[in-house]
């Protein structure tokens, strides 16, 4: 569904992604790990359509279409979802109005009528239960005054509402207590279908006990430098990134 080819991107003139290659097929779960500042969130931003990040080379195709030509909102309507590493607080905009607008935009895109108020509230209720989010959170302004963990759970709730084809979860596990981690992981597993895919960006192999990836990639200095099965996550947890950095340096020298 997604093919990334030699993707290079910069922010404010600084090269961050330096040639990323990645292919994701329907139903796959890919984990991306890598040291701080290596470009994981930048990659997520490029996929979601943030124009702050400038693509300088390469291509991204999504279901055969040129993803890079699509606006952020069109990507969302076509089924891409980004769970933000740092969800934004938006005072004065209620979660209900926000989600209603988002869900109905998506329905419009599919040629469906907007949901009635009661159907929409019913859907909210069901999804809240599905992802075990405190029902009071949904009555507040978007992320306003939410704790770190609540913000992350709210991302999963939004994902459940929008039922994306490709969900990119950027460190949705960081800052979560053990129970919340299970809630988030269960949420993902409940939404998982044979035809939708996930990119899970994380620093901890712990999450991958719950969300079992098909592939684990290491992004280092703007490139994917290693790809292996889920055992790679365990190895990284044990040994850190130094050995990978060494491998990369040796490769460059060689």
């Amino acid at each position: 569904m997604l093919v990334i080819n030699n993707l290079k991107a910069s922010i404010e003139g600084k090269n961050i992604l330096k040639g990323v290659n990645l292919e994701i097929k329907p139903g796959e779960i890919h984990a991306i790990m890598g040291p701080n500042g290596s470009g994981k969130s930048t990659l997520a931003s490029v996929l979601a359509g943030r124009d702050l990040v400038k693509v300088t080379e390469g291509s991204v195709t999504y279901f055969g279409k040129n993803l890079l030509e699509m606006s952020a909102e069109d990507r969302a309507k076509e089924g891409i979802f980004l769970g933000f590493q740092y969800p934004i607080e938006i005072p004065g905009v209620s979660m209900v109005n926000f989600m209603k607008a988002a869900v109905n935009e998506q329905r419009k895109h599919k040629g469906l009528e907007p949901l009635s108020a009661s159907d929409f509230l019913k859907m909210m209720r069901e999804k809240k239960e599905l992802v075990e989010i405190d029902s009071k959170l949904a009555n507040r302004s978007v992320n306003e005054g939410f704790s770190g963990g609540e913000k992350k759970k709210n991302e999963i709730f939004q994902m459940a509402m929008l039922e994306p084809k490709l969900a990119i979860l950027d460190e949705t596990d960081s800052g979560l207590d053990i129970d919340a981690l299970r809630v988030v992981a269960n949420g993902v597993n409940k939404i998982k279908r044979p035809d939708n895919s996930f990119i899970v960006i994380t620093h901890y192999q712990r999450l991958l006990d719950y969300i079992v990836p098909d592939v684990v990639h290491v992004l280092y200095d703007g490139r994917i430098v290693k790809t292996a099965g889920k055992e790679l996550a365990l190895e990284l947890e044990e040994k850190g990134y130094d050995w990978i950095k060494k491998e990369v340096e040796n490769n460059i020298l060689a």
Partner: protein, 457 residues
């Protein structure tokens, strides 16, 4: 400054031409202030950019203009207004209509509600309740710097009078609809007096409208006395056309343990200046001063707030916001004065503004004068664009750019609307703000008033 002296001459003539007629229709106590006030006006003149409190607001174009009339109503004006019926969905209020600053009713100029509250014409009240007028009129609207307050005192002769006796809670709000309508360009003034005795409670909704497209200049003064342990809320909704100038001066005098709020919502207007003075004149009083304006084209909105902490352990909170489009401009100045004895003061001020274009401009200025030591005080101002991160967040959920921008602006404005306690009014304001942001609210769009009712007659 020949310009300003020309203006002064113009108003000198206005005074001479009208004072007899005006005095003839007013009570002696109100007349008693006129001459001295006019002398003060002559000294101070019309505020110019040289005055600190009017630094960013140029009133000259409106004051230089030769208005064909200074409004004094004729019986036919009263008749027309008597036919007017305000038709507000779901909003149940005690209504008062002011036409060009006058209480346009021939009979029943002052009415008593079942709760014992009196509402009606100030001019009439001055005859019926001289003791109440003498106790409060002219006591709070004082200024050594603003000539316009004195211009009002020297010539205004009518306006709204509200009297809430001790211990009375009025559950329905009182709604004042200020209509400005004339066949020719017009200068008008009115004067309101609200007296809330001890342990009482009332809210006042004031809607400012223009009903005809002429050039208008309105200079209005409102005095409010809020007795011990009483609650008073005033919500002012301004929806006027681009060729109208509205200047309001509101003085709220609070006794101990009283709680008041003022919320100025400016949806539309040519040049608007709202000055709100809060005097915390007793221990443990609280005042909340809010304001929101949405401007475009060449509009200019200026909010001035003056909070005077004269007693210990009072709390004040100011929150003002503006959304400025096109080449519109705005100003905010918030003064907090904490007097020497006002220990235990909490005083907060926030002013946040969004500029939607490169040409829109906002001027903001805090002015803190703190003479007590035990004071918690904070202030902050921002002038910026819509938050890019927030915009992307909304778009990343499939909401298109235009709607996402609207949502952010609405959310920004809603932070003020949500302070309105009267639910139908709050919903209505949310609605109007949304329409305004979408560019759907024209100057004649029926706000709280169905203007058509009047125009069709």
């Amino acid at each position: 400054m020949s310009g300003n002296s020309e203006i002064k001459d113009r108003y000198l003539k206005l005074y001479k031409d009208n004072i007899e007629r005006i005095s003839g229709n007013s009570s002696p106590y109100i007349n008693f202030f006129r001459e001295a006030a006019f002398e003060k006006f002559k000294t101070l003149g019309v505020p110019s950019k040289k005055d600190e409190a009017y630094k960013y607001t140029n009133l000259d174009t409106f004051f230089e203009h030769d208005y064909k009339s200074y409004f004094m109503p004729a019986p036919s004006d009263f008749k027309k207004a008597e036919e007017f019926r305000c038709d507000v969905p779901d909003l149940d209020t005690h209504g008062i209509i002011l036409l060009n600053g006058f209480y346009p009713t021939i009979y029943d100029k002052l009415r008593q509600l079942p709760s014992g509250v009196w509402i009606g014409s100030l001019n009439e009240a001055a005859i019926k309740f001289p003791d109440k007028i003498e106790k409060h009129y002219g006591k709070y609207a004082q200024s050594e710097t603003d000539g316009l307050i004195h211009l009002n005192t020297s010539l205004a002769s009518d306006g709204v009078f509200v009297y809430v006796p001790e211990g009375v809670t009025l559950t329905k709000p009182v709604q004042v609809v200020n209509l400005v309508q004339s066949e020719e360009d017009m200068f008008n003034q009115h004067r309101n007096l609200v007296i809330v005795e001890k342990n009482a409670e009332i809210s006042l909704i004031v809607c400012d409208h223009t009903l005809s497209p002429q050039k208008f200049l309105t200079n209005a003064v409102t005095e409010v006395f809020v007795g011990e342990n009483s609650h008073f809320d005033i919500i002012r909704v301004q929806n006027e056309h681009n060729n109208a100038c509205k200047i309001t001066h509101t003085f709220i005098h609070q006794e101990k343990e009283s709680v008041t709020s003022s919320n100025n919502i400016t949806l539309h207007g040519g040049l608007i200046r709202n000055s709100t003075y809060h005097y915390l004149g007793g221990e443990k009083a609280e005042s909340y001063s809010y304001g929101l304006f949405l401007t475009d084209k060449w509009q200019h909105v200026d909010n001035y707030v003056n909070v005077d902490h004269a007693f210990p352990n009072c709390t004040s909170n100011q929150l003002f916001k503006g959304v400025l489009d096109d080449m519109s401009t705005g100003a905010f100045a918030g003064r907090i004065l904490v007097r020497k004895d006002a220990q235990g003061t909490n005083a907060y001020q926030k002013n946040n503004n969004i500029l939607l274009t490169d040409d829109a401009r906002m001027f903001t200025k805090p002015q803190l004068e703190i003479y007590a030591d035990d004071v918690k005080c904070s202030h902050g101002a921002t002038i910026g664009q819509l938050d890019d991160d927030a915009l992307f967040y909304l778009r990343s959920r499939g909401i298109n750019k235009r709607d996402a921008r609207l949502m952010l602006m609405f959310g920004f404005a809603h932070e003020l609307i949500k302070n309105i306690k009267i639910e139908p009014l709050r919903d209505r304001m949310d609605n109007l703000v949304m329409q305004r942001l979408k560019g759907e609210l024209s100057r004649c769009a029926s706000c709280l008033v169905k203007c058509d009712n009047l125009q069709n007659k």
